[in-house]
Symmetry: C2
Subunit: 427 residues, 2 copies
């Protein structure tokens, strides 16, 4: 029998308990021995729970798990940086194997954690940290190991994908859709980490470290959220055959690593455009396998629980059959991340201009002088002195685009530059 200690009994923790209870026979067969939940750390042992817990299992003292010699595997489901990171390191120090769903801790401190784990001869698994129940961490480690991965495009945050779907399908504003997401339990009361793109940034950092065998400092990842997406942008996107998604992108080439999170226009007939609501998707290209696309519910009690329990089973099998596995990531390679200013992309630009003769000519001249060429222009008649002007550029380095934008801003005939969003034509 192997004994499990769980840190946290929130949404995911309750899912883990539920899955381990309902599939216990199945799990026993796979592992070759029983798994017992020995202790669960909670803030208040008297609080009502949605799952049945045997008496004596709940504890308010982390030491009952971290320093308990009976416990083989510690499952960290507290989330956030501290005390999660501190607890993980202490558990490893005490020779315990680790399962975690904590993308922030793995993205920020993976290097130290894996190093310590190798020292102490224990395993660390984190399938649940990216894209909930979608198998992606271990496929990158195993089934796709023969490939030089060339690019990864992910929709990795369910909250923002839900918000963008609502905005698109129900014509809701960002604020309305966010409120709806909060009502549905898809967004936290402080939605910063999701809507500003940080959550997706942690996840693409983790995927990059596996795909490209190099640790990436998450602080170096360019991050742009979806707060500024207007309903007008969504409408214009539709009109031009696109859907706006929050993409997490990591491309590897001889020039370096192009890694970023930002909203982007995605061609409406691309698979990524069809991933809606809280679904996540990972789309990648490997030199041997070609395109691989996987999609599943990206969060929630049971999907995330599925990944956590899979990791528990995996580690337990290894313990029971006497194996060890370490992430073999070469952290010596230089983290040569490409500055987004140097990255070529098409851009969608929405401006408000005064409806006067010659304004388009002035704007076009600035673009031309900066070697930015236009792919399409959309100008709608309005009964207003200020009219929207929508442009899509051909592929251009970001620095030239922004140089043009800053010059266009100075034009007297330009009232405002409302939106600048990247167009990912060639995914």
């Amino acid at each position: 029998m192997l004994k499990i200690g769980i840190l946290g009994l929130g949404t995911v923790g309750s899912g883990v308990v539920k899955i381990m209870q309902q599939n216990s026979v199945n799990i026993h067969n796979k592992v070759g021995t029983d798994l017992k939940i020995e202790k669960i750390l909670v803030n208040n042992i008297n609080k009502e729970r949605i799952v049945d817990i045997e008496p004596g299992v709940l504890t308010e003292n982390e030491s009952d798990i971290l320093d308990n010699p009976a416990i083989d595997i510690v499952v960290e489901l507290i989330g956030g940086e501290e005390p999660a990171y501190k607890y993980i390191m202490r558990a490893i120090e005490n020779g315990k194997h680790i399962v975690t769903a904590n993308k922030l801790v793995i993205a920020k401190h993976g290097k130290e954690i894996f190093k310590k784990a190798e020292e102490k001869n224990v395993q660390v698994s984190y399938e649940a940290s990216v894209a909930g129940g979608l198998p992606i961490i271990r496929p990158l480690q195993n089934s796709l190991a023969a490939n030089r991965i060339e690019k990864i495009y992910g929709i990795l945050n369910g909250t923002t994908n839900y918000i963008l779907t609502k905005m698109s399908e129900d014509n809701q504003s960002f604020e309305e859709a966010l409120l709806k997401a909060q009502e549905m339990g898809y967004a936290e009361s402080d939605p910063t980490s999701d809507v500003d793109g940080y959550d997706a940034a942690y996840k693409i950092t983790i995927l990059s470290s596996l795909a490209y065998q190099r640790f990436v400092d998450v602080e170096n990842v360019y991050v742009e959220g979806i707060r500024n997406i207007a309903i007008d942008d969504i409408k214009f996107a539709k009109e031009m055959g696109y859907v706006i998604k929050l993409l997490a992108i990591a491309k590897n080439s001889d020039e370096g690593l192009d890694i970023r999170v930002h909203p982007a226009f995605v061609p409406e007939n691309h698979t990524l455009a069809m991933i809606n609501n809280t679904y996540n998707c990972v789309y990648l290209h490997g030199d041997a396998v070609g395109e691989v696309m996987s999609s599943a519910e990206g969060a929630g009690q049971m999907p995330t629980g599925s990944a956590v329990v899979a990791d528990i089973i995996y580690i337990s099998k290894n313990i029971n059959y006497n194996k060890q596995e370490y992430p073999k990531i070469d952290s010596c390679q230089k983290n040569n991340i490409i500055d987004t200013k140097e990255i070529e992309s098409s851009f969608y630009i929405r401006l408000s201009v005064f409806d006067k003769p010659g304004v388009m000519a002035k704007i076009a001249k600035i673009f031309g002088d900066n070697n930015v060429s236009l792919a399409s222009v959309l100008q709608k008649e309005r009964l207003n002195p200020v009219v929207p002007l929508v442009l899509i550029t051909h592929s251009v380095k970001e620095k030239y685009l922004y140089k043009s934008i800053s010059e266009i801003k100075e034009l007297e005939d330009v009232n405002d530059i409302n939106s600048v969003i990247r167009v990912e034509k060639h995914i």
Copy 2:
């Protein structure tokens, strides 16, 4: 250093050599040691090859691999039942680990192979046997291990999917599309295994054994191919909002295992309907994870090579770090496969009837008497005494449907029953 022996240097074999050459540094880093291709079994060592092979590596004598004490891992890429099966067993007997892409051998003889492997303490990996480069075997073993899988729907044969795509997009007949597939190298000169559904049957058998932890005798799987799909069926499907796909289905319930391969109407907005050309797709539902969908190129030199090399890396890591892994499949469970006659489904039926008053009433009466209710009826005016009549039924057990069909066949006003195809409304 670990030494590899490869049986066969056809399409996939050449892909494996190519990938191992071009990603050798990457592979070395992952495995922690060098992998050397020691010997490759071919029919003719003097034949021109598309990959660079060192002198002395090619051999026409299988014993140079199977009985060679220097070789650690045997990679079987001959395909077909014999001598592949015999060679695999002999290699295992000699203590060699096995990587194979052979769905026929794994589906038919997996049980004996895994038993022998456990006896001899060697590993058998077969990620490439299903859906080419798409990670599905190991995700079922690991990342999805916490789930009770409830259903699997697969598009598992690239050849038939290509043919159906051509028929649908270019209005080609089955024969024309098959010819095109043969020209493109997607179909063999004898296309039986693909177009008659056997290839997909082997694959769904393998997936079922992993998902449901039971060996399935492939002889018990209901198999129906796509030879009889007429261009008219494809057109009518389109008109009614469906796409015809060759589905491999495996559903598990308390009643038993519902496993089958047949063409089916798939709602046009379902993900499976959007998988075209030679792409494969696995769509599954687990009690914890919910829906998971994965798609990739299902065959071909590099995608299949990707999966084979991943298996080589996986086994090599295990050897190098001293681990073993066996498929833990409980073969004692009864193979309680549900007879397709007892399975409920909607059906699409295309008949040619003589354009006389009362014919629809007679047909409807027969259906009614057999408790088959109709969901929709499509009758087109033609300048012909014989007109097509297209029906879609509500969900009904197959045995009642076929009882009705046999009675309808006897009606004087019915010229022919052209097609009967299942409609999978609720995937």
